[in-house]
């Protein structure tokens, strides 16, 4: 395996050639915000929060799917990036109905945390106030599409880890939504094993256990790398 030497925020670093910018940054405690990325799942570069600048290129690249290259100079926190990241967060808040005060995940939510961390104290964009459904047909779990950010963590964990592929994404653009089976009610799904992995990886209060009240739904993301390591070393 060959190694590459490069810079992140003026810090001289080296890493294996197939390491991503995000992996190296995390190893060196350099903060790059992520929402769709989750350790243990394949990266998809969907949320655009981990965009970084490469010196000499006007194009921004997602750190979670970009491998390091020899001589590369990466900037992770320029004013331009901060502006775009805040914009991404504002668009997510505009598109859904994320009323933190009455959410099961209040205080334990990745979106809420990122808004705070990235300095989003209000939204310059108008809220869309779309009417989105809630599916509570499953006997243990429910999904509130109003709080879904379409990160597809549920889709990936169901396919890659559980092997059931109950979840998928339907439609395009503003009409996109995650669905169970062929857009059947979750409770009628024949493929769902009711394992609950989708609940645990969901970054917001979109997927939750029934009987959880405001701020009670604490997600356990940590099970995933553990499970993956155990399987790989079996």
């Amino acid at each position: 395996m060959s190694f590459k030497t490069f810079k992140i925020d003026d810090m001289d670093l080296s890493a294996a050639e197939d390491d991503t910018i995000l992996q190296v940054a995390r190893e060196h405690d350099i903060f790059i915000p992520t929402l769709c990325f989750l350790e243990g799942l394949s990266p998809v570069g969907a949320c655009r929060l981990c965009l970084v600048e490469i010196k000499g290129s006007s194009k921004l690249v997602p750190a979670c799917v970009t491998q390091v290259q020899e001589g590369m100079e990466v900037l992770t926190n320029s004013e331009r990036l901060q502006k775009y990241r805040r914009m991404v967060i504002e668009m997510l808040f505009s598109e859904g109905n994320h009323i933190c005060a009455v959410c099961v995940s209040n205080g334990h939510c990745d979106l809420q945390y990122l808004a705070q961390r990235l300095g989003v104290d209000h939204n310059e964009l108008p809220y869309l106030h779309q009417q989105k459904p809630v599916d509570a047909s499953h006997y243990r779990f429910a999904i509130d599409h109003n709080r879904c950010v379409l990160c597809t963590r549920c889709v990936r964990v169901c396919d890659e880890i559980e092997g059931a592929h109950t979840w998928d994404v339907m439609s395009h653009g503003i009409d996109s939504q995650v669905i169970t089976d062929l857009m059947q009610p979750w409770g009628d799904s024949e493929t769902c094993t009711s394992c609950g992995k989708c609940i645990q990886v969901c970054p917001t209060g979109a997927l939750f256990k029934k009987s959880k009240a405001v701020a009670e739904m604490v997600k356990e993301h940590e099970f995933l790398p553990y499970l993956k390591t155990m399987r790989e070393t079996k």
Binding site: F93, N97, H98, I99, C100, A101, V102, C103, N106, G107, C109, Q112, Y113, A115, Q116, R117, G119, D121, H122, N123, P126, Y127, H129, Q130, Q131
Partner: protein, 176 residues
């Protein structure tokens, strides 16, 4: 030393932000030496003064009265503060927005009422079609998110303002 003039207003909110303001406890005594509360649900004055240094706004803009009031207040305030999630985002009051106003009123005053259902129309301001954050109607100087913002956060905001600084809450305050 002359005291700084402060006001607080209550638009479409639950008064929780005002409760949180009162929760600053003994700091209220320090505050009483430094500010004069010239208009507020907590004091008796009925008219908004000609000019106020700082106005804390609780609640979203939901009805015709909120809409008129916030514009008047902006014109007569130097530093306008959106206090709490309703003022900053619309929060819970804005949950009626996916529905039409007529549907909402029908639900509240007819559908769920068994005895003498009627829609109140005397002495109540008309609801606007959408509940919106304060800054979509008038410029806001400082945003204090939270539902409610904690007493510690409100104390921090007031202390900074009294020191002549614009409070920076970017990494200490959060929605919800």
């Amino acid at each position: 030393m002359s005291k700084a003039t402060f006001a607080t207003v209550w638009l479409d909110g639950c008064s929780g932000c005002h409760m949180s303001f009162l929760d600053i406890d003994e700091f209220l005594l320090d505050l009483a030496d430094k500010i004069e509360l010239v208009y507020s649900p907590l004091v008796d004055n009925k008219d908004f003064p000609e000019m106020v240094e700082v106005t804390l706004v609780e609640g979203a803009v939901s009805n015709a009265d909120d809409y008129e009031k916030i514009q008047y207040i902006r014109q007569h305030t130097r530093t306008l503060i959106s206090l709490g999630d309703c003022a900053v985002t619309g929060n819970v009051p804005s949950m009626r927005n996916p529905f039409f106003v007529d549907e909402v009123i029908d639900r509240a005053y007819n559908e769920n009422v068994t005895i003498n259902p009627q829609v109140p129309h005397i002495g109540v301001p008309e609801l606007r079609p959408w509940v919106v954050p304060v800054h979509t109607i008038v410029p806001v100087d400082v945003y204090v998110p939270g539902c409610p913002p904690s007493a510690a956060l409100i104390k921090h905001v007031l202390t900074e303002l009294l020191e002549g600084r614009k409070p920076d809450l970017s990494d200490i305050a959060r929605f919800g």
